[in-house]
Amino acid sequence: MDLLAQADTAVDGLKALGAGLGYGLAAIGPGVGIGLVVGNAITAMARQPESAGMVRTTMFLGIAFTEALALIGFVVFILLNFT
């Protein structure tokens, strides 16, 4: 009985560990992607200031789509932790 309880606790711990690691790892890719998007947007605005509005529109949408990957990691975190 004790062994079963210990196994349950270990599974819960591993689930929490996996959820935390998954969320953290899922945020790395979008972080790099957002850095690339913003860096290139700033370069474009510096080279051609009159296109700043267009670049910012594209940048916002690009960032929002990239961030969807992090949100998917967040959803995995929710599902692993709370189901």
Partner: protein
Amino acid sequence: MSSAVVDRSPERDLAFDMARRSLWVFPAWVVASGFIWGMGGALSSALGYVLVIGNLAAAAVLMAWGARTSPVALMGATLGGFIVRLAVLAGIVLGASQLSFFEPVPLAITIVASHLGLLAWEIRYVSLRLAAPGLDLQRPGKEQK
């Protein structure tokens, strides 16, 4: 950067337009969640919707502030904002998980579906012309704002 261009805030326009458009779909989804998962499901869906809209609005406001200030501020606001917003989302959900109504499945579905759905829908209304960046208000056949 030319101040006439930078003073306009296409990010804010897009984010608030997405929030406005989602008002048509959101009540139906909350009701559907209520039928499937009960009251907890409806409240969790509403929480997910608020998180997504709040996240987009916070990103837009931060980016608009950064773009008005300087390129360095834009980089900082965007990347710093990304980390802070993710932490805030996690904090809110961890806090909400202690509440009795919390249902993870409708919350998860709402977050992913509404974020991607709103973005995909918004692309139809975006103009990438130099003269009129941001929302496409003059496109023939589209609703006028």
